[in-house]
């Protein structure tokens, strides 16, 4: 337990705050990388997932592909990209986008598919175009599941962004790796606790957002 005390002392030490290597700076960096990766992946995965959910086509191919991507160890993708692109933020960013992709895609098509078919048919019957169907009926009805996918992807990315520090001087993972190298357990543990706390806070925030997006009306039994 003494080590936890040391780690907390390390975190609260004013010398480790402010400046380019400071905790505040690294937390912001970590969050920026996370949001950038999730946003980039969302731009690619959400429209594709919505299209698959709406048309019902290509589902099997995409499910199989997403499963295969999940089996790829992120560290392997990261190191391969690192060799190809050199030290810097590009390699981790691409690896994190690939990591976020399957969860976002699965959330998007599952959300659209979960939209009440009766409501969709009714909307079609009153003369809505396909575009209106998607944007005004299927997306609002599937929002909960789609947001669930975004939440899962964000959690995976914020956790794995720690690995970015293995090949670039980015984010909170840096404390972990430099602590490991120099055998400074307090710094290493401090880094671990900071990442865990950040992931927890982010996940709870996303959960609250997800809850807030739910319609307040009660479900009518069918």
């Amino acid at each position: 337990m003494n080590l936890f005390g040391d780690a907390l002392a390390w975190i609260t030490d004013g010398a480790h705050w402010g400046g380019p290597g400071g905790i505040d700076h690294r937390v912001v960096q970590h969050l920026l990388v996370t949001f950038a990766a999730v946003a980039l992946a969302a731009v690619l995965a959400l429209p594709l997932g919505i299209l698959i959910g709406h048309t019902g086509r290509g589902r099997l191919v995409v499910v199989a592909l997403a499963g295969a991507v999940r089996a790829v160890p992120t560290l392997g993708l990261l190191t391969l990209l690192g060799l190809a692109l050199g030290i810097g933020i590009q390699a981790p960013l691409i690896a994190l986008v690939a990591l976020a992709f399957p969860s976002l895609l699965a959330g998007a098509y599952a959300g659209i598919e979960a939209a009440d078919r009766g409501a969709v048919d009714a909307a079609r019957a009153v003369g809505m175009s396909e575009w209106q169907l998607v944007t005004r009926v299927e997306i609002p009805l599937g929002a909960d599941v789609i947001l669930g996918g975004i939440r899962a992807a964000t959690l995976q990315v914020v956790a794995t962004a720690t690995l970015a520090a293995y090949i670039s001087d980015t984010g909170l993972g840096r404390y972990l790796f430099s602590g490991l190298k120099s055998r400074q357990y307090d710094q290493m543990l401090a880094g671990a606790l900071l990442v865990a706390a950040l992931a927890l806070v982010l996940d709870l925030t996303m959960a609250a957002l997800q809850r807030a997006s739910r319609p307040t009306t009660r479900k009518v039994p069918s």
């Binding site: 999940r70 089996a71 790829v72 160890p73 992120t74 993972g173 990442v195 865990a196």
Partner: protein
């Protein structure tokens, strides 16, 4: 291929280490998650707490977990036990909810019929609930298996040997073939274990082959 030819023993050794770390972690996850899932299904109020803490645990990133666990348990950082415990915690957190769903998926009428036929409570669990929960449970175990095999690689970052060593070593020495071997080896192991699980699932649920797909819900 030439890199693999020259390093066959090293790769096989790392593969063996990988199996030694991932299989116990998966087995422990399944055992603990089934017990927790059963508790959560049986006592829903306690279940909310159990499943809530499981999902909270799951949000703790894996690499930090590898560093916190040795401190909590007083075991060496580079010990394989650290990784097994971390991945078992992770797998359990991932699987507990699915296990509860699996027990929930068992048809209540089947359970009532078994009770009426005079099954004891233990008999009900072992001969009715567990076998009928297998299909849903198996889908969760397959996810945990693939994710565990893939996560074992990060042990290499703290010095626990596995196929992950091929990734870090290949990166440091700029040998692309070594990283590719590590990635493909990890995926191959995941696919193999997954196929074994599917086969095992067929063996323990022979009645499913007789009914059309999904008919036995």
């Amino acid at each position: 291929m030439s890199w693999l030819d020259a390093n066959r023993d090293y790769v096989l050794d790392m593969l063996l280490q990988h199996v030694r770390l991932s299989v116990p972690a998966i087995v422990i996850s399944v055992l603990v998650a089934v017990v927790l899932g059963r508790v959560a299904w049986r006592w829903p109020r306690a279940g909310t707490v159990v499943l809530g803490s499981a999902s909270l645990l799951y949000s703790v990133p894996a690499l930090p977990l590898l560093i916190v666990i040795p401190v909590l348990l007083g075991i060496p950082l580079r010990s394989g036990l650290t990784l097994v415990v971390a991945l078992a915690v992770y797998g359990t957190a991932l699987l507990a909810g699915t296990a509860a769903d699996a027990f929930g998926s068992v048809d209540a009428r089947v359970r009532e019929a078994a009770e009426a036929m005079g099954y004891s409570r233990a008999g009900l669990l072992w001969k009715v609930d567990l076998p009928l929960a297998v299909p849903v449970l198996l889908s969760g175990i397959r996810v945990v298996t693939v994710s565990t095999v893939s996560l074992v690689t990060i042990g290499a970052l703290v010095g626990i040997p596995s196929l992950g060593n091929l990734l870090t070593d290949g990166f440091q020495r700029d040998i692309r073939a070594e990283i590719v071997t590590g990635v493909l080896g990890t995926m191959l192991l995941a696919v193999t274990l997954d196929a074994l699980l599917v086969a095992l699932g067929r063996v323990v649920t022979p009645w499913r082959a007789a009914t059309p797909a999904g008919g036995a819900s």
